[in-house]
Symmetry: D3
Subunit: 307 residues, 6 copies
């Protein structure tokens, strides 16, 4: 069963079974779903560009944290001029990428991406309109980070240095696109944050004000999580699914609420695992490394004793 | 014992003990193993290049996932032309880097790297010949990822976005080089994946079909692990060594089987730690945050109760 | 309470509430602490540059590990010439960045950054003078990594590949700046290591000789930790604070010793969480996934049973 | 008449007449032909990309001078693999850019660029088919350069260093596209050579074998020039038009033969100016700085006496 | 007298007279005006940045030729947003560079660069205010280029490809800065055009509407030239000084009118040299390679006969 | 005779004669001297790298004009440190490139490049030792440029802006390498200057103090020119060969003195052409566009009358 590859790979016997030409043929001919066919000029089959999205999100960070991200030292007038231009640039990039995302998962009428284009335009406009709200939420996150970490010397240090702020910024952006029904693009955005910070918050997660992820490496927050205000979580915390119902073909059913609801004023310490559509009551504290698969009432203290 | 550095570093007393010239002298003269001596034209002492390897692996990803990685939209003929050229380029880079890896750990005849060169040529040819098999395995991984994650909208989303797919791709490539007896190079490859994804799978680990690492940050899979088909693991899982026998000089003995054997159809949830050369029987489920140091029979359910 | 954003975001109703111009106005006018005002030519308000610091630390790595990092193959004379020039370049960059860091948190006399400039000059000189000591410590770390990991084929493999060595190098550099009273800059440096390796060691932590972090993703070592000689920790280990006293305004008090003291010859296995100003006695072993909030005497063995 | 700008620009009186906003308005509203309107998604109005063309020409140089341009040291097998892939890449880029060039000057049916696309495909295929002939001609040019310049140490020095070889390579490539009826693109290619070398040979010029331009800065060869075999010209030589007939609206008529015919075995020394549709007979020598507006019979010697 | 270096350089005798250290000392100690002393924090002694200026001029080209230079395909609204932001960015760069230019040649009060800063601000604002006029002139140049070259297929080809348009754009920009009394910066701008095109027009030259430089390599137009409307010149034309009066110390006197005045509707063919403060009367034609040191009345025809 | 290509290229008939595969075959199989064969690991056949040389020359400019080129603002100590390191880096690059240049034209013992390596080492050391002399000469050139151009506002403007200073710097560097018997490399260096400035001075030309090339585009100075002190030349001047003796096979003989000798204090105005091994006597002035093929005595005035 295991490792039969090894048999063919004894270091002393590395004669190539295949020439380079043959390998290329084998790879070209594989019908295994790993080759994305050419679009043959079919514009609506072009993949989204990760690089373009990363740049757009960096642009968004510069309008959400002006002076901290992007150009470091510009006056009020310049700020206004640059912000308009940045938003305009972001909007153009997003329109294109959102359209690609919509087509990626399937145009309404196969081969006709005009509706996707129209929808991308609407979605992008709506998204831009929500940026002030995103920023309002981020301001509460920054305040929470400063207040929640004795090592922080000021709110601006958290903007400048804290991976938790970075990851939440990406997620709040991606979440808006998720709410607007954009496929794929939000996930590309949060996975970029994941790669930079080790913090993996699904774009679908709904998160209230004053959210603070400290240190954060290894944090996983699932797609259908609902997190209230003033919640603080530490590195290695999982808010995941316990199990998922299978459909008739034995595949997991998509889109079912299966992750925790965390009410206001909850703290969850490092390494804790909270699984399933359970509710952590307001004001509770969940200790480190705790394994929790059932809900707890408000003001609970759950911990694991050491030995 | 502790922190005697602090004594010399009172903020008020930061007079430099040493000039820049003196510091340079001290660093140049240190005989501490941290300076790699010049090769003096001795070509077989040149270090491998991490940048060249990273580029080669990216090239390999483009032939393993054509159209998803690398040029996004090329027709069938172009695909064939580009694939041959990419494989040729990869082969040239690998020949050179494998040779350096072999010399790094010591030529058979010191100072004579012709044997290393010949071996690098053979190894590279053998490696290229195994790419169709690598790709076959990856196709099963992609399918497993899609089926195993309710949040995945399609197999191509997992190719495009999932860190688990990325890390396993790197490992399967590195594993082939490991099987072919190449030192150092495989580790550089998996450490690059580790840096991008937080998933650390040793190139020595033997992994069957349909392997899926979900989220993945903090996953560690040790050198002598043997993993069967259809295994799924989550973030923070460790498949590690418990202890290791020391040799006569008190150093850990190298190369002894010391990591778990995981049979087919096993799921290991987030944060679980499985240590030692034990066997997790086919079809078992290991719960989150579980600490496991002895084997379990097939179809076991191991979990940690919450309190 | 939760997710009232969702109400405004029904996919079918994505009419933009705001034009791009209005959004820009709203973002420009927000008085939320997320906009860093222009310095209006006030040089002491310029932000530190993360890119410049990252380059300086890479330069430092090249003088700490010559031949492994930076130019790979230069003779003894060249090494000396280059090392002096590199140190000189580092010193110039640090002087500027340290000055910015000092001004960032507030000049002694607002608007007069001459004292910060003088202090930056002293601090930088002192820092450069300590590099031989930093290197001495790193040589012990490398030896410990080689001896502590059976998979390591030689000390140079650990220099070249191991994220633990990378992270500890960054921290030892940052720690010296921390000891010299530099704000912000040390944190930027360790956060860069955190992003690359998933290992988050606060610059304030005091660490003895022969420190080895294996695998490392998810490791968190807090600001006031004191770690002895010959300590080894694995991935996912937290050395954190348990709780922190609040000041009169209900904010956490800054700078209080609140993280563990780990004495010589301690091993802490993966996923263990050690919290509070407790002492792990010399020679102790802390098992994986253990949750520990009280001190243990020397030579303790603490573990979590599996079920 | 002249310089009335100066009046408004006395250094002491530089009050701005216009705000930045007003300037932007003025520039946006100008109906002066200098603004290229947006295509509004009309794909056939996208401008050619100079950068893409420059890269394609560099690719072409690497297949015309393999080992001298591009990858410097690859074996016979690799050469074949890379050449196929390079040609394929060039073909894809050219297809796109030629299409844009055709659309730039006007699609047959406005708004329908399918015919342009088809034509671009045919033209590109034809162009690729002519590369062996282009290379055959370049081999004669290289030989002529070596034989014609006493300072040349070998033919490969001329390939590697001589601006004349560079400029003629670009022109011979552009000329083929010109012959195939491609607008704009050929001119972009020769203007790039012009910028690099100061040698300006119009893509329309027809040039025989063994053409050598020595030094070359300031050379101008006009659109309808016809140059025979074994012609050598030096820096500053102009083969231009004398005057051009005007059409009914007083504009110069396009496409009329108006530049010199230079027969085989002619040498034209530096700074000579030859104008109009005249013929320089076979075997003639035209001296430096000569001004020539009428034809000369074979074997003429034309010179300017010094004073 | 000549070439005494050669004596010391017989190929057979290349023993180094000096060590690398000694060479460095010699170069550091040279008091030859080739070392620019450190500013020691004296901000007004920082050199202008050629790279920043080149970028600013490229930005300016994108507002002068929107859609042809810079972003190729943006709608009317985006154009307005981007233009404002581009002008703002240009203004910030120019303010800084103009200030450096002013300080470079000497602050009014040594060591006090506040007046230079104020003046840079005024000058930049005035410059931006003149851009519509610059653009108006360029529109006439483009029209003249199209009408004057039978090979041009349309005005936009001249914008996209013609070095003459590029060089005149740079000069018209630089000329405005020159008129505003800015030192050094204008020359850096025109020298960049010179490097790209071989066309060297001094920023001081005053040039009317509809100016067309065809081919252009080798053209030199001197500082005090005054050129009317509708003038056309070809490659290799010099409009230079004949001689210049010396001051009491035998140095050339600066700033004296010493270059030609060229009235409206003049054509000067390739290689012609026109020297001194003479006037070429309206409507004249100067033939190729002509050497002209005295003025000519309107409607003159000056030519050099061929032999 | 002429343009038989045209016959095969009627725009209407662009059917490809050859497939892409066939074209690649044809190009690979061509035995025309345009393919540089692989070295097959024969290190002494590796081509010099133009990019490495360009960087080395830029480094050299930074030690010849410290503070004007390279880092703009460093103190005296830093200058010394950086200069040593720069010279060391230049020396390493040159050793390698000079070796390649020597091997390019043929090792003494074919296949044994040890002698080339030794010679490269000696030559490089000798070259470095001559840099102070190169700098001494450049200081005189800068002074001459300032004094010779009424438009120059100071010597530093000529360092910062004048293409003539750039070209002469490159030539003086290349000339030293030429004197030391290095093939190819010097020509690569002067051709780079040629591309940037349009000024083409052969590395072989011997040039005295106070040499000033004004404007410079189109200047050509031949291999065996000998130029005295205090010589000034303008754009478009050629100091070339008139004719060259053929050897027995009818090829031009290499290395014969065939270019002019220009004595001290000579001025040659724009567009003048001086050909052959003639002598321009001390103190002479050669007018613009003059054609001169015989020597002139001291203090001559040669001019072309205008008409």
């Amino acid at each position: 069963m295991i490792d039969d590859l090894k048999g063919t790979a004894a270091p002393g016997a590395c004669a190539p079974a295949l020439t380079l030409d043959q390998v290329a043929d084998a790879l070209c001919e594989a019908h295994d779903g790993l080759t994305r066919e050419s679009s043959n000029g079919d514009a609506h089959r072009v993949l989204p560009s990760r690089a373009a999205l990363v740049e757009a999100v960096e642009d968004l960070r510069s309008v959400l944290f002006p002076g901290y991200v992007g150009e470091p030292d510009i006056g009020r007038d310049s700020l206004r001029f640059q912000m308009v231009a940045t938003l305009d640039r972001v909007a153009r990039v997003l329109r294109e990428q959102v359209k690609r995302g919509l087509c990626f998962t399937g145009c309404a009428v196969p081969g006709d991406c005009a509706p996707c284009e129209a929808r991308a335009r609407d979605v992008t406009a709506a998204f831009i309109g929500r940026l002030p709200e995103v920023r309002r939420l981020l301001a509460t996150d920054v305040q929470a980070a400063y207040e929640g970490d004795p090592a922080a010397t000021g709110p601006d240090e958290t903007i400048f240095c804290y991976p938790g702020i970075l990851a939440v910024t990406f997620q709040r952006i991606a979440h808006q696109l998720h709410l607007l029904g954009v496929p794929l693009i939000p996930r590309i955005i949060t996975e970029h944050a994941h790669s930079l910070t080790g913090i993996d918050i699904h774009p679908g997660a709904s998160i209230g004000e004053r959210f603070f992820v400290d240190h954060g490496t290894g944090v996983v927050v699932g797609e259908t999580c609902v997190i209230g205000n003033n919640v603080r979580i530490y590195q290695g915390v999982t808010l995941g699914a316990k199990s998922f119902p299978l459909d008739d073909e034995g595949h997991p059913m998509k889109g079912i609420p299966r992750h925790p609801v965390v009410e206001d004023d909850v703290i969850i310490y490092s390494g804790a695992t909270v699984l399933g559509r359970i509710t952590i009551g307001r004001g509770s504290t969940i200790g480190g490394n705790v394994w929790l698969t059932h809900g707890v009432p408000p003001d609970s203290r759950v911990s694991q004793d050491s030995r």
